[in-house]
């Protein structure tokens, strides 16, 4: 096998990390994991914690499934994957509850719902079932980073325009409000998250025409 000689960060492996950030982004290109992108992006802090949680869950379960891949009977593979993911999600949920209780409360059911996040099942099925642990790990990190970066961009705009804050700190000066500036209430509502994601998709496809589907 030639892969033994292959360096840990070969150009192919680097691609696993960087591709999901741009041209095969799970949210804007594959349109997976939209639900949580709408639900937890009102403020940046919860969005960041959510992105981190997904990263842990996806990276670890990718590695675990990759180790088990030759011993999982194909007919029950989805159940096995679910068990691994669910175990990870419960771990993450308990850790969040123990250390960042406030944010855990804000994220509420959405941490538990990571189990049903399409990105995770998608990567397990499409990648970890057929690849070695190290590359699966990189793939998990890359995809969850691609998910996280969109979450944080959306949350940045929603928090800035909807609450006038960034990461909880007031950034819109008081003077603006005296002149009649108002926080945009629509930004706090989920539909606007969809529109912001839509605008990101628009910008991305305008810059990279290859992503536009042929009719």
């Amino acid at each position: 096998m030639s892969s033994e000689k292959e360096p840990l960060f070969s150009s192919k492996n680097i691609k696993l990390l960087t591709e999901p950030l741009g041209n095969s982004n799970p949210i804007t290109v594959q349109v997976l994991g939209i639900c949580s992108a709408l639900a937890v992006t009102v403020k940046m802090k919860p969005a960041f914690v959510m992105a981190l949680s997904v990263m842990v869950v996806l990276a670890v379960s990718n590695v675990v499934i990759s180790f088990l891949r030759s011993s999982i009977p194909p007919r029950i593979r989805i159940i096995v994957q679910l068990v691994v993911v669910a175990a990870m999600v419960i771990l993450v949920d308990q850790i969040l509850k123990a250390f960042v209780y406030d944010i855990s409360k804000q994220l509420s059911v959405f941490v538990g719902l990571i189990i049903t996040n399409c990105i995770i099942m998608g990567r397990l099925e499409a990648f970890a079932m057929g690849n070695k642990p190290w590359v699966s790990f990189l793939d998990g990190i890359g995809n969850s980073a691609g998910y996280g970066i969109i979450l944080i961009i959306v949350a940045f705009f929603r928090e800035l325009l909807g609450s006038g804050t960034v990461w909880g700190y007031q950034v819109v000066p008081e003077g603006f409000y005296k002149f009649g500036y108002q926080n945009n209430g629509l930004m706090i509502l989920p539909p606007m998250a969809l529109i912001v994601v839509g605008i990101i998709i628009w910008v991305q496809r305008a810059r990279n025409k290859k992503l536009i589907e042929s009719k």
């Binding site: 009649g180 108002q182 945009n184 209430g185 629509l186 930004m187 509502l189 529109i195 839509g198 628009w202």
Partner: protein, 386 residues
Amino acid sequence: MKFLRGYLDKIKPKFEKGGKFEKLHSTFEAFESFMFVPDTVTTKGTHIRDANDMKRTMTVVVLALIPSLLFGMWNVGHQHFVATGQVGTFWELFFMGFLRVFPIVVVSYVVGLGIEFAFAQYRGHEVNEGFLVTGMLIPLVLPVDIPLWMVALATAFAVIIGKEVFGGTGMNILNPALTARAFLFFAYPSYMSGNAVWTHGMMKGDVIVDSYTGATPLADAAAGQIDKLPSVADMFFGFIPGSIGETSTLAILIGAAILLITGIGSARIIFSTFIGGLVMGLLLNAFAVNPYMSVPAYQHLLLGGFAFGAVFMATDPVSAAQTARGKIIYGFLIGFLAILIRVLNPAYPEGMMLAILLMNVFAPLIDHYVIEANISKRLKRAKVKA
């Protein structure tokens, strides 16, 4: 006129392909066809071109909106004078409203047309006349003291997200003017609802006479105070607080007459919307478990934005249903849902905007099933030998 024509002809080559200002072609084109009837003819085959092109259609709709606009200006002054306990002449009232409403109209047109021109330029399209109507509708459905930057933002949102992302005029799913209003309604509720926003000066804290609350009749009714409802004549002529252009049912009916006589507004949609509202109103009357539900059905048609929405918003040819039977279903459901939301949902004192936007989304589905039904009906009639 001849001078203008001559001048345009002189500078035209510069905007043609290869000319100095080639990139500004669609801007030039827009101004030329705005000033003169375009001389484009169909070159292949025999065609009859209707003189009733988009420019004329849009102009007629804008004309139909003028009564509402003028009355709205007067009513702004009227409400302000009533609220502050002053007495003024007709022209004082009108002028005061004019000073408030005119800037909103200007902002709406400048922002909207600016974006339309920019997109047309960038994509190499022609500039469409569609925004002429939208630009007039937006001010008419807003409260008078709305800050101008909000008008600009909402117009930009409506034109970009409501229209241009779908491909521009003729491709939009939702009515752009109502998209602008819905945006403001959810983004800045404190400027779009409540009792103080409908009368000029109340938000700033002008001295208000004791008996004046500024509440629209719908707000009073939603609070269960139906004894406070104005007289039917006041509702019909529009001497009530409300958005700028929607209060006077009479002015709207004049507009409706213009649209119907010229055949531009769909009679099917307008009438079925009113019937839908009436049916829902009667249903509510039949059950009347609270005071609001016992408001006579016909009064619902006079209040709030119902008439304005039915005549000018629901009939938008792009976002409405296209088939004849579809139009009737579409209009009926708008009226039906508008009154339902208005009376039974305490969060939204007026349901017209939401009802129209909802049915805009369903219009293609309605059309689909109308066409399917027609196909299966005809197939049954046909006798095909196997």
